[in-house]
Symmetry: C2
Subunit: 202 residues, 2 copies
């Protein structure tokens, strides 16, 4: 298909698509003349993915690039690719305190998740605990366990729903599900808060 | 206290604090001379809050400003203030399809959350459903219900832990808990995915 059709089917302006081509977020089409190229369904799909990652998941373009590289890296198993995409997305900031790290290690141990003791997500968690303690809103282990149980119930359903036959498709499915369902999960938590607080506090 | 002490206690560079004063994220201190001012514990606390919202919750400064305005607005009840801060934080994008809206309304009805049918969070959820369907990874109602049950179990514990005696303190507690625990919740979901997928898929 031509560029105009690609724009129509992806819902993105031609100028945006040309920008994505220039910065390498979209692979080039098959040239048909000096100034024209032919695009296929894989291009439509890639543009929809970029659009969802920026508009719905709210990722900056550098993070989108990291996700796409993981999806495209044929040397990774799907589990490793997801781990890699997750890792690249984790915010970098000052390291957590030893106390917060110890609390996270204890939480992981209680949940049977000790294999993630060195995961960057464990550091994200520890930094959140530090920030809340610094603001005099410390979070108790009981609330952490409630969060962990909620996360576990979600993860079991999510992992069970992945089809692993095609590695690239499966990786895209996991990455997309992980990133696009993050705003969905946060929106549901806020909806639940609105309803629970309205019911209990009027 | 002097500016140098404020920098030490907040963990922020003097230049950053001066920038926050200039843009109004930090209220001015009490002037003690033409070039000096005196700051108190409220300034330390506000700077820690700004730092946590930017470094841990990853909010841009405009969103931080919206959160602070809600915390400071004495005309709002704490529940309304949280609603207001949440609303301002929701990403703005193209409206969801009627199909996605209908699925979200049905979900809210199943969960007894119909009061949030017009909430901006319901639109966030509907946009995520649209994006996933557009990428050919539609999400089933069973998974949405798993997410909703997880969100409900979290919200019940969170709302029960709020102390409402002092409105500004309670609002800050809810806003901070909501925003700073978001990265914590997402980190736990990813840790849970790592562990569940490693266990079930090797």
């Amino acid at each position: 298909m031509r560029m105009a059709e690609l724009a129509r089917r992806s819902g993105l302006p031609v100028a945006t698509i040309k920008f994505y081509l220039r910065v390498g977020l979209l692979p080039p089409g098959r040239p048909t003349s000096a100034t024209r190229a032919d695009y296929d369904d894989a291009h439509v799909r890639r543009l929809r993915l970029v659009r969802a990652l920026t508009e719905v998941a709210g990722l900056p373009l550098e993070a989108v690039r990291a996700v796409l590289e993981s999806v495209d890296d044929a040397s990774l198993t799907w589990h490793a690719a997801v781990g890699s995409a997750h890792t690249r997305l984790s915010p970098t900031a000052s390291p957590p305190t030893a106390d917060a790290r110890a609390r996270v290690r204890a939480l992981l141990s209680r949940q049977g998740w000790s294999r993630s003791a060195d995961s960057p997500h464990a550091d994200v968690l520890a930094r959140a605990l530090d920030a809340l303690a610094g603001l005099e809103h410390p979070v108790g282990d009981d609330l952490l366990d409630v969060y962990a149980a909620a996360a576990a119930s979600i993860a079991v359903h999510e992992v069970a729903s992945v089809d692993t036959d095609d590695r690239v498709a499966a990786t895209e499915q996991v990455v997309v599900g992980t990133l696009l369902l993050e705003p969905a999960l946060l929106a549901m938590r806020r909806i639940a808060q609105e309803n629970v607080s309205a019911r209990t506090r009027g």
